[in-house]
């Protein structure tokens, strides 16, 4: 495949933005149908890039600033790009058929996709920053215009946190260039090769932790999340939770672990502690919530804590688990919010005390609740669903490095079952309120996005390689610690990936094939 194919990955959402402008706003379903073409084509192109490895693209942009249009795909970015395209398409489909101001709404969703996809494709620090910042604008507008009753305060809080995140990332990226040994070169290859002094590494890592910790988010930088998740339109929350938050995780992995390994090693106990605290804090807060959206927000925070734990340990297995957790969490949180969106659309509320009996087979929302139950089970790490292999790898990979934090996170993960059961007991079972239960049932077109995610969550659970296979090589290369009890027993990842007898080789190409930068 020619290198320009990578550029084509960014063109469909751009074209989508233009395309939807050609349709009358009076026809929101047509606008939606056209909008979904962009991410769908992007998904197909990304799959093509997976099957037919594409060389990196180098285009000069503003060389004096160190900004070049360097794009590439590897085992870290390809799965996240696929996830981005998929979640964007499903988020668009999950929007209501009578979406108000549909052209602007879908254009902003596509712009968000463009920013996130660009960040995952970027091989230049400044380009990553540019795309990272680009995401903030459409998402803020989406919250501010289409959000709930408290959308103004949610949007203000979201942009304030986002602005701090962007500014600190700017400072971090510039610092990486200034302190770099190879001159002011912000290409990833140069950043990875430069040996920064330990003091500079520490300061830059602190900036990166702040920037990406805000984006993830992780305790105590999560102040924007519950309010934004509670107020934003459901497709936007699907994007925020499923895709945008992964920018933070990806940034930590790429910049923190990849470019500042010494500082990462030194700071990792604190990072692990933050992850474990996030896991516990998120889970306990989720138990205490009386609104499903806020419950999901805290649940997401808790699961981001597990991801951070995996990153902090930085063993090959834990990093592989962290990438798998990004993918699994992306799908699960999108599924959770797709189901919550259906509940909200039908019942008009997400307040737990106002809902009950939704499992009623005749007048409730049994299909939606069934999918929600499955999503909660996946989040809780029930075997056979996507959450299980990801969390297992994180825990297994982190145990040797941070046993206490891992144990705490493991217990916190168990709390998922507590709030899931509590939610179901109150919302799913009990008496269906006669005065309220006159909503229509969900139709297949409304269910379709959630159903697609459900199938993926089940599929990834039954075939975990779909989550873990992408990043084996990258995880090994990036790891700052070894995996003592696995290194002698199991062949190296390259060998595993190259083996014709494994699922990895049979289905996913060896990630080295994808490494083009």
């Amino acid at each position: 495949m020619p290198p320009f194919t990578l550029l084509f990955l960014l063109i469909p959402p751009l074209l989508g933005v233009l395309l939807v402008q050609l349709v009358s706003a009076e026809r929101p379903t047509l606008v939606r149908a056209l909008a979904v073409v962009g991410p769908a084509v992007q998904l197909l192109l990304a799959l093509l890039c997976w099957r037919l490895p594409t060389p990196a693209l180098h285009l000069s942009w503003l060389p004096k600033l160190g900004l070049s249009f360097d794009l590439a795909l590897d085992g870290l970015s390809l799965p996240l790009l696929l996830l981005t395209a998929l979640i964007t398409a499903l988020a668009i489909l999950a929007s209501p058929a009578d979406q108000s101001r549909p052209r602007l709404f879908h254009s902003l969703l596509l712009a968000t996709n463009l920013g996130v996809a660009g960040a995952f494709l970027a091989r230049n620090g400044l380009l990553f920053l540019f795309c990272f910042e680009l995401v903030l604008i459409p998402t803020t507008l989406l919250v501010a215009i289409w959000g709930g009753a408290n959308r103004a305060s949610a949007a203000i809080r979201f942009i304030m946190y986002g602005a701090v995140s962007g500014l600190t990332l700017l400072a971090a990226v510039l610092s990486l260039g200034w302190y770099g040994t190879g001159g002011f070169n912000l290409s990833y290859a140069s950043l990875a090769a430069s040996a920064l002094p330990p003091s500079a590494q520490g300061a830059i890592l602190l900036l990166l932790l702040l920037a990406f910790g805000l984006k993830l988010p992780v305790f105590p930088l999560h102040g924007w999340q519950p309010l934004t998740y509670a107020e934003a339109p459901i497709p936007v929350v699907m994007m925020l939770g499923g895709v945008v938050s992964k920018l933070g995780a990806y940034g930590l992995l790429r910049f923190g672990v990849g470019f500042l390994p010494d500082a990462w090693t030194a700071w990792s106990p604190w990072i692990a502690a933050a992850g474990a605290i996030s896991a516990v804090y998120g889970a306990l807060n989720a138990i205490a919530q009386s609104d499903i959206r806020r419950l999901m927000a805290y649940s997401s925070l808790g699961h981001m804590g597990l991801l951070v734990l995996g990153l902090s340990a930085a063993t090959p297995l834990s990093l592989q688990g962290a990438v798998a957790q990004m993918l699994a969490h992306g799908m699960i949180v999108a599924l959770l919010f797709a189901c919550v969106g259906l509940i909200e659309r039908k019942t008009g509320t997400t307040a737990i005390p106002e809902l009950s009996g939704l499992m009623n087979p005749l007048r409730g929302l049994p299909f939606t609740m069934g999918m929600l139950l499955l999503a909660m089970m996946a989040a809780a790490g029930i075997p056979g669903l996507a959450g299980f292999p990801a969390e297992l790898l994180v825990f297994e990979g982190s145990w040797t490095t941070f046993p206490r934090a891992t144990l705490v996170s493991l217990i916190a993960s168990g709390f998922t079952a507590v709030y899931a059961i509590r939610l179901f007991n109150r919302v799913g079972f009990g008496r269906l309120d006669n005065d309220r239960a006159d909503w229509t049932s969900t139709c297949w077109s409304e269910r379709a996005p959630a159903m697609a995610l459900t199938l993926l969550v089940i599929g990834a659970g039954l075939w975990p390689t779909a989550l873990t296979g992408w990043s084996e090589t990258e995880s090994t290369d990036l790891a700052v610690r070894s995996q003592p009890f696995l290194s002698s027993a199991v062949p190296s990842p390259e060998t595993l990936a190259a083996s014709g007898s494994t699922l990895v080789a049979a289905t996913l190409p060896a990630t080295s094939e994808l490494r083009t930068s």
Binding site: G357, N360, P361, L362, R363, G430, R431, L432, D433, N434, A437, D438, T440, S441
Partner: protein
């Protein structure tokens, strides 16, 4: 200015008693005017008559099988085939309908209803053996009928002499003879009977209630069929007409004997002989309405109750889980008796009810709940008929001119309405058509 052609308004007679101040004063005034608790609207009439018809078909099976179990299956320790009534019972002539009836009051045929026979043969799935229909649960659900029977057995002190009679020496002697005859040549069961006589006696009592309910429904099935026919002919003008038909029906058969005969090897054992003088109105109809419409028991699968937190009344008379109080919305869980009844009625809905349900709520999807609420409306009408019948039997005519008599009627109606003051009662909901 009054036009010269205008006639002077007719003087309206001042009411003999002041209006009721009861919370359900409107309903009470309607009852005093000869109406029903259910408002008189064309749609209500259509709903209740339609559901009576849908109820009558499975009821035609219920009463035949109940009598089959009481009279033929009796104490079979493994009654695996009790829901397979013999052809003799399917052909059993109704006592009050058909050419072979002992006292023909209602139209109808003497054998099982053709729609019932057709359903028994084909079910929802298609033509196959009875056993496969049974195992696939594609059948008439006798579990609902048994739940009603158990409610009548369990709730006591509902008037009448029937339950007390089950403890009498005469009954025990009759039951003893029947038990010994049934297990003749079976030393194991006779040995067990010698060891645990009360256990066997309790089973016979249960069988007597099977007979009681079977004899009750034998009357009601043709009543409902005929109401449906009259409606189809354009005979009923409103809900009060339908209620009055029921009142008249109640009085027409009020004196039918309630008995329990058991047939063992061709010999009839009169466990409760007709000569005891138990009658349909007092020993079957009134206890049935009380036990099933008002009281019953919390059905598992509908709602959880915490008895330790006093969510279940200590006094059985305060139970309020019958159809008049039922929250039909949560019903729909598989296998519980109310759902099974709705499932039974679903197969025999008249086309006009099918069309009505398609127009409201979720249409085809939640027909089971819509017909459940229709059933609730119809049972408020049946209860109204029972209340009017009781008033007729115990108190004064509605057009009585003595204020004291009218006040006695008023107190009676108010006392009846007091039972619907509790929040679970659905009387307020059925006053509007929005409740579906």
């Amino acid at each position: 200015m009054t036009p010269p052609t205008a006639t002077a308004p007719e003087p309206v007679a001042a009411p003999l008693i002041p209006p009721s101040s009861h919370r359900y004063a409107d309903v009470i005034h309607r009852l005093e005017a000869g109406g029903s608790m259910l408002p008189d609207t064309p749609e209500n009439l259509m709903q209740i008559i339609g559901i009576y018809k849908a109820y009558a078909v499975p009821m035609d099976f219920y009463w035949r099988d109940l009598l089959y179990i009481a009279e033929q299956v009796f104490l079979d320790p493994l009654p695996a085939f009790k829901y397979f009534p013999s052809q003799e019972y399917l052909d059993l002539p109704n006592s009050y309908a058909g050419d072979q009836s002992k006292l023909r009051i209602w139209r109808g045929g003497e054998k099982a209803h053709p729609e019932l026979l057709e359903f028994m043969e084909k079910g929802e799935t298609g033509k196959m053996s009875k056993l496969l229909h049974h195992l696939w649960h594609d059948r008439i659900n006798m579990e609902f009928a048994e739940a009603c029977m158990e409610a009548m057995l369990w709730h006591q002190g509902m008037g009448g002499r029937f339950y007390d009679y089950l403890d009498s020496d005469a009954y025990r002697a009759n039951a003893d003879r029947a038990i010994k005859a049934y297990f003749r040549g079976n030393p194991l069961m006779l040995g067990l009977y010698a060891l645990f006589p009360e256990m066997f006696m309790e089973q016979v009592k249960k069988m007597s209630y099977y007979a009681n309910l079977g004899l009750f429904w034998e009357v009601m099935a043709p009543v409902f069929f005929e109401m449906s026919d009259i409606y189809d002919e354009g005979g009923f003008k409103g809900v009060p007409d339908a209620m009055n038909f029921l009142v008249n029906g109640i009085f027409a058969v009020a004196g039918r004997p309630i008995y329990h005969h058991v047939f063992i090897r061709g010999e009839c054992f009169e466990v409760i002989p007709k000569s005891e003088g138990f009658t349909w109105l007092y020993e079957a109809a009134l206890p049935y309405v009380e036990a099933v419409f008002y009281r019953t028991a919390p059905f598992r699968g509908t709602k959880s109750y915490n008895a330790q937190a006093y969510q279940v009344p200590a006094d059985q008379a305060d139970f309020h889980y019958g159809i008049l109080y039922a929250d039909v919305f949560p019903v729909g869980s598989a296998g519980i008796p109310p759902t099974l009844l709705m499932q039974d009625m679903l197969h025999f809905l008249p086309p006009y009810l099918e069309d009505l349900y398609k127009q409201h709520k979720r249409g085809e999807e939640d027909k089971l709940i819509q017909l459940g609420i229709t059933f609730q409306r119809s049972m408020y009408n049946v209860t109204s008929a029972v209340i009017q019948a009781l008033r007729c039997a115990l108190l004064y005519p509605l057009d009585d001119t003595d204020p004291e008599h009218l006040m006695a009627n008023r107190r009676f109606f108010e006392a009846q309405m007091d039972r619907f003051l509790r929040p679970e009662a659905r009387l307020p909901q059925i006053q509007t058509q929005d409740y579906r």
